[in-house]
């Protein structure tokens, strides 16, 4: 069994929308995966099943031999601490500073603030936000917010990174640079990375596996 495994997963939202339709997918440790599909294809839904923001209607989701589709609620924190997620709608707290948003996964892990500072410096360099460290997050431009979100997803060195449309608000060069960063991170730390994207350019530029979703069905993996 793979590192991440979807077995006959269906997801029908209460409103009656069939978002995932018999998804079977197996991803190995350390893989670099592009999840590609038109708008409404179900990319975000698939990721929400991994973060347990949603439960599948039927089928099973396994992560590292743990059946997360039937994990008890009280174990959710443990699951989520091992993930690094770039949310499509960012999920940043607007009135926190960039630094505060950045280190929030560390605080949850119980890292001391002084250590958090050191780690944060490195990440800020990586995503080129050094000069905005103490700015309020709501002051950032759209692209800067996405960069911050990516930084937050990497700061605690997770085993699995889920990046949902991480370059939608970034210009071509910056986007390439950041996905390159992700690629490097994966290479160096052996982390598994899944990137949901529309951009053909990105998909073609990096030697990753391509999974294509169409109306909730996997048509290429």
């Amino acid at each position: 069994m793979g590192f991440l495994e979807f077995k006959k997963v269906y997801k029908v939202y209460p409103a009656g929308v069939k978002a995932l339709d018999n998804v079977n997918l197996s991803i190995e440790k350390g893989e670099f995966v592009f999840l590609w599909g038109a708008t409404g294809a179900g990319k975000t839904t698939l990721m929400k099943l991994i973060t347990r923001e949603e439960l599948p209607t039927s089928g099973e989701v396994w992560l590292e031999r743990c059946k997360i589709s039937s994990l008890e609620d009280r174990y959710l924190p443990i699951l989520r601490r091992n993930l690094g997620v770039v949310f499509q709608d960012l999920k940043l707290v607007p009135h926190w500073t960039v630094f505060e948003n950045l280190i929030s996964p560390l605080l949850v892990l119980g890292v001391k603030k002084r250590d958090a500072h050191r780690l944060a410096e490195g990440i800020l360099d990586l995503v080129h936000l050094q000069d905005k460290k103490h700015h309020k997050t709501e002051w950032l431009s759209g692209g800067e917010k996405q960069k911050l979100c990516l930084g937050r997803a990497l700061i605690h060195r997770p085993h699995l990174v889920l990046a949902d449309e991480p370059t939608g608000n970034l210009d071509g060069a910056t986007a390439l640079g950041l996905v390159g960063t992700l690629f490097e991170f994966s290479e160096r730390s052996g982390a598994t990375v899944i990137i949901a994207t529309h951009s053909e350019k990105l998909v073609n530029r990096f030697p990753g596996r391509l999974v294509v979703l169409d109306k909730g069905k996997i048509i290429q993996s």
Binding site: E53, R80, V85, H95, S104, V108, L109, G110, K112
Partner: protein
């Protein structure tokens, strides 16, 4: 985890003020109630000694019978103090009451019968005690104030019941206010909480600052109310003592301990419970979504 307690909570100062004020005000009312209650207690004690049943012997009763009956009465379960008023004392009391001289009466014999003055252990039990005494044949008449005393007793009981209910209502109301205040301040931080949850924070991590906030608001509100009440009661008692020295106003010093203990315990407990309830209700709601 402890370091982050309030690290990122930049907004909601207005909520803190709100919570503080609500606890402050309810604690103030509570203190007022405690004051009233203590006052009543003290007055009750005074009443007790003046609520006296008078049981009259017939005029021609022998001193031995009187002594016998006195001992009998003393042995009754509801009885507090028993005092014998003999004929001589009854007469002199009458004379001094109407400000007369012995000569004014112009009587040869003492027409006043001896009597027992009986006090109940508890004011409440006065009527029952009177019934008991009426059963004793040696008495000619048992008098305990009747109508008037009954009315006063009803009043006392009414006051205690009403006060108890008020206390309960007050407690529920405070709890409601505190809960809503903390709820509001939680809802104002919806985004933070969502983000913390997604970052893998435990329930405890997320609740801690709100529980802390609740207890701190409770404590600060309670302590402030305590100080304000003490100052207020100081002046009030000063005023009352000079204006109505007849009443039995309690000492200011006697207030410090009960008010202090109740203020601190009650308000921090209220804050804690309110915060806990708020957290629970919010979690339930978000689970339903």
């Amino acid at each position: 985890m402890p370091k982050s307690k309030e690290a990122f909570h930049h907004r909601g100062t207005s909520y803190i003020v709100m919570g503080f004020l609500s606890i402050f005000i309810t604690q103030l009312l509570l203190n007022l109630f405690i004051f009233g209650y203590l006052e009543l207690e003290q007055m009750g004690g005074v009443w007790q000694s003046s609520f006296t049943i008078r049981a009259f012997f017939p005029e021609e009763v022998s001193p031995e019978v009187v002594e016998d009956v006195k001992e009998k009465v003393k042995a009754l379960p509801l009885v507090g103090e028993v005092k014998l008023v003999d004929s001589e004392e009854a007469k002199s009391r009458f004379l001094s009451y109407f400000n007369l001289q012995e000569e004014d009466l112009g009587l040869e014999e003492n027409p006043f019968p001896p009597s027992l003055e009986v006090q109940a252990q508890r004011v409440e039990e006065l009527p029952f005690l009177a019934q008991e005494l009426e059963k004793i044949e040696e008495f000619e008449e048992v008098f305990y104030g009747g109508e008037n005393t009954d009315a006063l007793l009803r009043f006392y009981r009414f006051f205690l019941t009403a006060g108890g209910l008020l206390l309960l209502a007050l407690f529920v109301f405070s709890l409601l206010v505190v809960t809503t205040v903390i709820r509001a301040s939680i809802q104002a931080r919806e985004t933070e909480i969502e983000v913390w949850n997604l970052m893998g924070a435990t329930k405890r991590f997320i609740r801690a600052p709100f529980i802390y906030q609740g207890v701190m608001e409770g404590l600060s509100g309670g302590v402030t109310a305590f100080v304000v009440s003490l100052v207020f009661f100081h002046f009030l008692l000063d005023f009352l003592n000079t204006s109505f020295p007849l009443f039995f106003w309690i000492n200011w010093e006697e207030l410090i301990l009960p008010l202090g203990v109740v203020s601190i315990l009650m308000s921090s407990f209220l804050g804690f419970l309110g915060a806990l309830l708020a957290c629970n209700s919010i979690e339930e709601e978000s689970a339903k979504k």
